[in-house]
């Protein structure tokens, strides 16, 4: 082993040893750092052999965690979601009525899918509620990954334990498993496809499976996206929700 090789190994090792859990979370955040997002997406809810498709237009502002979703598939045409911070309102065009979703309801599957409102709303406060540790390294889908284990520090953490497979190079979380206190696996989310937008690797195709309902899964596909386009803050108001 020559000196050069040794140094390489050392530096690699140093790189590995130098990085810890919180650091990885921080690096992952880079991939979510944008001021605004405008996208069109579809959500395929697959129950047994039946596929239901929800299509939507999304606009969002990172500041204040604000977003507005408008459904465009025929059955839900005109239905809108407005998220402001931790609050969610749904507008139903047929009843011309706005319903506020809170408490338990936020944990329910959105539009009959395996994605809960809470999942959709979750802000990046993982480190507040979870202790993070690197618990291994694995090759996942051909990508060299850290295996990250998050354990709830407080009782009100949504999941007792979460395990993430985070690519070492680009800090993309390819897979996440959530567990209950009993040790039961509740949810599995997998990123199926990413797209590079500027400096950001954006997961454009994500699959989610509720492990308590094994016959169903949800695939969320972003069809077109643009980041950091200037957005009018007036988009995210109750008045706009009703319009």
């Amino acid at each position: 082993m020559n000196k050069k090789t040794f140094l390489l190994i050392l530096s690699a090792a140093a790189a590995v040893w130098a990085i810890d859990g919180p650091e990885i979370l921080r690096k992952m955040d880079v991939n979510r750092t944008w001021k605004s997002v405008v996208s069109t997406a579809k959500m395929e809810i697959i129950i047994d052999d039946e596929v239901r498709v929800k299509a939507m237009e999304i606009s969002g502002l990172s500041e204040g965690n604000r977003s507005l979703v408008r459904f465009t598939n025929p059955e839900d045409e005109g239905t809108k979601y407005l998220m402001l911070g931790d609050d969610l309102w749904i507008y139903f065009p047929e009843e011309n009525d706005v319903v506020k979703i809170s408490g338990h309801m936020l944990k329910e599957g959105m539009m009959g899918s395996d994605v809960s409102y809470e999942d959709a709303l979750e802000a990046d406060r993982l480190s507040e509620k979870y202790g993070v540790a690197i618990t291994g390294g694995e090759t996942y889908n051909g990508n060299d990954c850290h295996v990250l284990t998050l354990t709830a520090k407080v009782k009100d953490a949504p999941y007792y334990k979460r395990v993430m497979w985070v690519e070492k190079k680009r800090f993309i979380a390819w897979k996440e498993e959530s567990f209950a206190k009993s040790g039961k696996k509740l949810k599995v989310a997998k990123v199926l496809e990413v797209k590079e937008i500027g400096k950001i690797w954006y997961p454009v195709k994500v699959e989610m499976v509720n492990m308590l309902r094994k016959n169903s899964r949800t695939v969320f596909t972003t069809e077109s996206i643009s980041l950091d386009k200037p957005l009018d803050a007036g988009t995210f108001t109750m008045r706009n929700l009703r319009r």
């Binding site: 408490g103 009782k155 999941y159 959530s178």
Partner: protein, 414 residues
């Protein structure tokens, strides 16, 4: 002589009289049976409700009561054990137990079903509720295993039986997702179809870890001694509630009537509809009587002419036919009462097997199994009076007509 003519006429037209009387009797029989069954159903529904769901009175903190539609695991009652002991000192109170409801889902992996689960205290629950009377399998044991008792119909839908395992998913008191496996120890086959279709019960011990309850109890359920007469029972419950209110001003209380106000509202409407239905039956009987008396008038038009030719006044003629109607009515009512009594004796003693007769077609009834009849003497009196009056009035109209007819057109000399 009037009475003699009336009675003889009734005897002479035996078939017609018997037909009228049977019409009245059948109308009354229907009325009595329906009223008895309806009262029985009401009583049965109330007994069910109190024994399985609501207790007589429910105590909550105002904080929880305000949000209870969402069933949060917050706003529990402090010092449950001492409260229980204190409430039990009231002579009217039969038992007290804590219950906590939670929203969750039940999974057998191929299917997931939203549920409202109830956390019960096995030690005290049976002082208020009668779940144990209806259990197939076993009640909660003292094992450390997580055990669950399910409504039988729910279990059947999910393909579960005693000894099977089911995964319960819910949010803990701290809104963390949790899921765990529970062993089905018992199935509930109660007289309340709603409970059979959606009942999910776990013990406070397993709930403590599953839901992080830390002893939280949101509902204190109070049972009041049963009374045979429902009005007495309601009076006792209200008195007990008033006592609780003055003793515990910082707790809110709701009687079963208040808890299930919607049900009682609907029951009232149903009752009104049922009553209308019965009135229609009696009206049909009245039309039948009307018709027979009218027939009798036309058949005896010549006779009426003779009576008038001999100086009968209109009033006397009218009285004659009224008398006939009255006698027919009394006869029919007596028959109806006799048959009604017999039928009701049967209904009270052996009941009416609603489940066997209705099958699955009446799933939203708040009661199941066998319904027992009730004695409702005021209603009987009213219906008897109504039957007799109907028969009399039904006789009156054609009688008046007969009395005012041109005599000549009744006699037809030419």
């Amino acid at each position: 002589m009037l009475l003699k003519i009336a009675l003889r006429n009734i005897r002479r037209h035996k078939r017609r009289t018997v037909f009228s009387a049977i019409t009245i009797a059948v109308g009354m029989l229907f009325f009595i049976a329906m009223d008895s069954i309806m009262s029985g159903m009401d009583r049965g529904a109330i007994d069910n409700m109190v024994a399985l769901k609501t207790g007589a009175i429910r105590l909550q903190t105002p904080e929880f009561a305000a949000e209870q539609d969402a069933l949060p695991l917050r706003g529990g009652i402090e010092g449950c054990d001492s409260l229980r002991a204190a409430v039990l000192r009231d002579k009217r109170v039969k038992g007290v137990t804590g219950r906590t409801r939670f929203i969750g889902q039940m999974s057998i992996y191929t299917d997931m079903k939203p549920i409202i689960g109830t956390v019960i205290s096995p030690a005290t629950d049976s002082t208020v509720f009668s779940l144990t009377d209806y259990i197939e399998g076993a009640y909660f044991s003292n094992d450390n295993e997580r055990e669950i008792i399910l409504g039988k119909k729910l279990a059947e839908e999910m393909g579960l039986s005693v000894g099977g395992w089911v995964t319960l998913y819910a949010l803990t008191r701290y809104d963390a997702h949790n899921a765990d496996d529970f062993k089905v120890v018992g199935l509930l086959n109660t007289t309340d179809p709603v409970l059979n279709g959606s009942g999910v019960f776990i013990s406070d011990r397993s709930a403590d870890s599953f839901l992080d309850l830390e002893g939280l109890v949101t509902d204190m359920m109070v049972a009041v001694h049963r009374r045979v007469n429902i009005r007495d029972f309601i009076r006792e419950v209200k008195a007990a509630q008033a006592a609780l209110r003055s003793q515990y001003p910082d707790l809110t209380s709701q009687t079963f009537l208040e808890q299930e106000a919607g049900f009682f509202e609907i029951a009232k409407t149903k009752r009104a509809f049922g009553f209308m239905f019965l009135i229609i039956i009696l009206l049909i009987a009245a039309v039948g009587i009307f018709n027979t008396v009218l027939m009798s008038v036309y058949e005896r038009i010549r006779e009426i002419g003779v009576l008038r030719a001999f100086g009968f006044t209109q009033r006397e003629l009218t009285r004659l036919f009224l008398l006939e109607g009255l006698v027919t009515g009394i006869f029919g009512a007596a028959l109806g009462l006799a048959l009604g009594t017999l039928l009701n004796l049967y209904l009270v003693a052996y009941g009416y097997p609603l489940d066997k007769i209705a099958g699955d077609s009446m799933g939203d009834l708040p009661i199941w199994g066998t319904i027992y009849g009730e004695w409702n003497l005021a209603v009987w009196g009213a219906v008897t009076l109504f039957a007799v009056m109907t028969a009399t009035v039904a006789g009156y109209i054609p009688a008046r007509k007969a009395g005012t007819m041109e005599i000549i057109s009744t006699l037809r000399f030419f």
